[in-house]
């Protein structure tokens, strides 16, 4: 680079559209590998082995309840009737496949750092969807923010993965982060509650945990994956100093501050506490929450979710 180039930085050459590069051949190859590894992990488990709490027409005995008129007398427990003269209906755990809902936060805060967080979230989401589809699960995708909400209805079969890709490529982006509204709408539009993986930075001080908890209340099994850009989380090495005006990428807030090494360290500490607090809150409600740093490859992240996250049980 010559001195002129140093003084006058040239405009970068037009890069290929990021959406097109999002799921390229290399990505697909890594998905295949991921699927093979996932199959080994889940060996012996068949489709629909996930039990719901719904009591229905399954094979495994669950409980008794008193007979009420209209019940199918085929489920009357005659043994109890003979011994105790109580009409009890045998209840069975209903075997049904749990739908997997993948919710991706597409707000503006996910678009900083040149959209690295959003790309990472989409790659993780696509990988989860691929593994789910390959296991013949029903997988639905939602891309949502405080402004947009787009949903791909649940699909099944490995061949639908390209539909998932297309959906992710074309999903509308932008808008403020509103985890609570996003989760509320996901819960509302899900006919069957299921495993709901929320991929977001959760930069929503008030609504992040509430949204996840709402999913739990609505019988979903939420899994929170917090996408973290290390440069954003710890800006002490960013070189930012002096009097600046901080502008929220999602609009609205302008704040004049004087950045110093001390204030940057304080921000990093506050960010760390925020993430820990979110994780602790989730854990207290039985919600699995984990952090996904951009410097961890997405496939490693997905495997970690499989191993630790209880996505399959």
């Amino acid at each position: 680079m010559g001195w002129a180039d140093r003084l006058i930085p040239r405009r970068k050459a037009a890069a290929p559209r990021q959406e097109e590069a999002l799921f390229d051949e290399a990505f697909l190859e890594r998905l295949e590998l991921l699927q093979v590894i996932a199959r080994r992990l889940f060996r012996g488990r068949q489709r629909s082995e996930r039990k719901t709490r719904k009591v229905g027409s399954g094979l495994e005995f669950a409980d008794h309840r008193e007979y009420s008129p209209g019940d199918d007398i085929r489920y009357l427990d005659w043994t109890v009737w003979i011994r105790l003269h109580q009409a009890l209906i045998r209840l069975f755990e209903e075997d049904e496949d749990l739908p997997i809902r993948i919710v991706i936060d597409v707000s503006d805060s996910m678009g900083t750092s040149d959209g690295a967080k959003l790309r990472y979230a989409m790659q993780v989401g696509a990988a989860l969807a691929y593994v789910g589809l390959a296991n013949l699960d029903r997988v639905g995708i939602t891309c949502a923010s405080g402004k947009h909400h787009t949903t791909l209805p649940a699909v099944r079969g490995k061949g639908r993965i390209f539909r998932v890709f297309e959906f992710l490529r074309t999903a509308e982006r932008g808008g403020p982060t509103d985890i609570r509204a996003m989760c509320s709408r996901v819960a509302a539009e899900s006919r069957k509650p299921g495993l709901t993986v929320v991929l977001s930075d959760f930069y929503d001080l008030e609504g992040a945990f509430e949204g996840l908890n709402m999913l739990r209340v609505r019988k979903h099994e939420p899994v929170a994956v917090q996408i973290i850009d290390p440069a954003e989380a710890d800006p002490t090495h960013s070189g930012l100093r002096g009097d600046v005006q901080l502008v929220d990428v999602e609009g609205g807030v302008h704040r004049d501050v004087t950045l110093s090494a001390r204030s940057l360290t304080a921000y990093a500490e506050a960010h760390r506490r925020f993430c820990e607090q979110l994780e602790a809150s989730c854990r207290s409600r039985g919600i699995f929450a984990t952090q996904a740093s951009l410097d961890v490859p997405f496939d490693d992240m997905v495997l970690r979710l499989f191993r630790q996250g209880g996505i399959l049980r």
Partner: protein, 654 residues
């Protein structure tokens, strides 16, 4: 301080407007850089107690504002082109003439290890540092040689190194030429001024030159740098051979107390690094004593006289270089004597052989001499012909010749003509005062036969027989001595007079050989003869002279003579560069012995130089540098802006 550019009235409005603009800009809200963050809510929580509300932030803004005002003030000052008053006077063309004579190596008052020349240099440096931008100065060193030490310039970086290169020399200063040169350099320029820096220990010619300069059209000032005037010097040092004992040397040393107090000195004389004499002298102020060392062996050639303190102290007396003197005595070379004889006169051969310290004797037959086969015949210093019945050669060699009975044959090459043959002559008269006959008595010498000789005016008759010359000495380019008898036909060889006469003849010819130069003084052009230095002049057209400091010069030789101006005392090596003896060298001693050069008294105190010629004390160093001051101001501005820029980019002041 004055302003050569904008006036204060012009500068103030500019400063006021600029200051108002800067203040206005500072009062306006500073536009901050915008940083887009994804989580502003967290940033807000963190930066709720931002430093921007602290006093330091506000103070830093105030300091930045003040810095900008300072920069503006300096720019306005630069526009004014400030100049110290010393720069605004009329330009001066200053010629600094520094006396670099021997006395300037003398000690300075109250400052050990400092010479008078150091004081002069210090004073000259002050003058140079006080020069304004339009002033010019030239530095001229005045010793026996006059040289421009630093050319006309106003730049101290040019002038001061030239000044530092000046060194005290060994002779008197040629102020006449130095002042003429100085006047020539500055007289046509603006504000001409000549400043002479000297200790006043000058010879009459230099004082006259100063008086003439003071009365001249160019302002001529003298600044004196004095010091203690005590000095003891060797003012003369000479060596010679005794006229009648050339193997012995006599050395004379003259020691002069030029100071104002009695002193004791130890005089030591060394010959070829071996001490040959040591004496302690007590000298009253102004007293001069001569010491003679007699009967020294002529085998020694280098003589050094040295003064030292009685107590062994190494400190010199006043000037160090006049405490030593040098002399060279060329080694004694024996005469090349050829004896042409038939071998029957052993008395003559024996008389020559006993003079082996003085004579290198070669025997030769008359036939060899006639045929001229042997080169010694032509190269001899003296040829004795004692050939009896044998004939003489047709021509005599071009050298000193002694002939016995040259007219035995009818023809003879002798330049002294025959007058008549005589039988049984009596030597009746002799020239008793002639050196050849010193201590020789020829009374009653019997001769069987002889020849009387014809003389011409100028001939010296040694013996007469009844008034007729029988032994004649003729001085010409070469000396010819003719004895009109054959020693074999007399009883003279059996007398003591014969070997004494032969010895006298040899001494006579020795004294006709070239003398020598024991030493020459420095500073003057001196014509020297190669023969006097002991170097054969034949065929020599150039000589190389190597001084004691290693300086080499090649000088032309004309007819065996060359001119030398030695400026450093010591031993000089003189080498013939061509001729048959090319490469052979001799030594020459050069002495500083100069009464005026060694006299450290200020001779100017008694003179009546005009009051205006007394240079005032130099002004103290100007605190300001040379060159336009506005450039320095702008340099300060640039430094301030650079500091501000660096602090801005280091996020210190933003």
């Amino acid at each position: 301080m004055s302003f050569a550019g904008w006036t204060l009235l012009q500068m103030w409005p500019l400063f006021a407007i600029g200051a108002a603009a800067i203040t206005g800009l500072y009062l306006l809200r500073m536009r901050r850089r915008q940083i887009v963050v994804p989580f502003a809510a967290l940033w807000e929580r963190v930066t709720r107690d931002s430093e921007s509300r602290k006093l330091w932030r506000k103070l830093r803004r105030l300091l930045s504002w003040l810095l900008q005002l300072v920069v503006l003030a300096l720019v306005c000052l630069a526009l004014g082109d400030p100049r110290p008053d010393v720069w605004l006077r009329d330009p001066v063309s200053l010629a600094i003439v520094i006396d670099t004579s021997a006395s300037m190596a003398g000690p300075a008052p109250d400052e050990p290890d400092t010479t008078r020349l150091d004081l002069a240099r210090r004073r000259a440096e002050q003058e140079i540092l006080n020069l304004g931008p339009a002033d010019r100065a030239v530095v001229i060193g005045a010793s026996e040689e006059v040289a421009v030490a630093a050319p006309l310039s106003s730049d101290p970086a040019v002038l001061i190194p030239g000044l530092q290169r000046l060194q005290p020399r060994y002779g008197e200063s040629d102020l006449d030429r130095a002042l003429a040169l100085a006047s020539h350099v500055v007289s046509e320029r603006a504000g001409p001024r000549i400043l002479v820096l000297t200790d006043g220990a000058l010879d009459p010619a230099a004082i006259e030159a100063l008086e003439a300069c003071a009365a001249g059209p160019v302002a001529c000032e003298v600044a004196r740098v004095g010091g203690p005037s005590d000095n003891v010097a060797i003012t003369a040092f000479a060596a010679r051979r005794y006229p009648y004992a050339r193997d012995k040397i006599e050395v004379l040393t003259e020691v002069h107390n030029l100071g104002d107090t009695p002193t004791k000195v130890v005089l030591e004389v060394e010959a070829d690094d071996a001490p040959v004499g040591r004496t302690t002298l007590r000298l009253e102020p102004g007293e001069r004593k001569r010491e003679v060392l007699s009967g020294l062996d002529a085998a020694r050639s280098r003589f050094v006289a040295r003064l030292s303190q009685e107590q062994g102290d190494q400190a010199p007396f006043g000037l160090p270089h006049d405490d030593e003197a040098y002399a060279v005595v060329p080694p004694l070379t024996p005469l090349d004597v050829v004896l042409v004889t038939d071998g029957t006169n052993l008395f003559l051969e024996a008389a020559l052989l006993v003079l082996d310290d003085h004579v290198r004797l070669t025997g030769m037959s008359p036939q060899e001499a006639r045929e001229g086969r042997r080169p010694e015949f032509a190269e001899a210093d003296v040829v004795f012909f004692d050939v009896a019945d044998e004939g003489l050669p047709e021509t005599l060699p071009a050298t000193h010749v002694v002939m016995f009975d040259p007219w035995r044959a009818e023809t003879s090459p002798s330049p002294i003509e025959k007058k008549a043959d005589v039988v049984r002559p009596f030597l009746t008269e002799q020239d008793r005062g002639h050196p050849v006959l010193d201590h020789v008595v020829i009374k009653d010498v019997n001769l069987a036969r002889g020849t009387t000789l014809a003389t011409i005016p100028g001939d010296q008759v040694l013996f007469r027989s009844l008034g007729e010359p029988m032994a004649v000495l003729r001085e010409a380019q070469h000396t010819t001595v003719a004895f009109g008898f054959d020693p074999r036909q007399s009883d003279l060889p059996m007398r003591s007079a014969f070997p004494m006469m032969v010895d006298n003849l040899i001494r006579y010819f020795e004294q006709r050989e070239a003398g020598f130069v024991a030493s020459v003084p420095i500073g003057t052009h001196r014509e020297l003869t190669l023969a006097d230095l002991g170097l054969a002049p034949e065929g020599v057209s150039r000589v190389e002279v190597r001084g004691p400091e290693g300086a080499v010069m090649v000088l032309p030789v004309e007819r065996g003579r060359f001119r030398l101006r030695a400026l450093v005392p010591g031993f000089y090596a003189i080498e013939a560069l061509d001729g048959p003896l090319a490469g052979s060298s001799v030594e020459l001693a050069v002495n500083a012995a100069n009464l005026h050069a060694s006299n450290l008294h200020d001779a100017l105190t008694a003179q009546s130089l005009p009051e205006a010629s007394q240079a005032p004390a130099a002004a103290p160093d100007s605190p300001l540098p040379q060159g336009p001051l506005w450039t320095l101001v702008m340099l300060v501005v640039a430094v301030l802006l650079a500091a501000e820029w660096a602090s801005y980019h280091r996020r210190v002041t933003v």
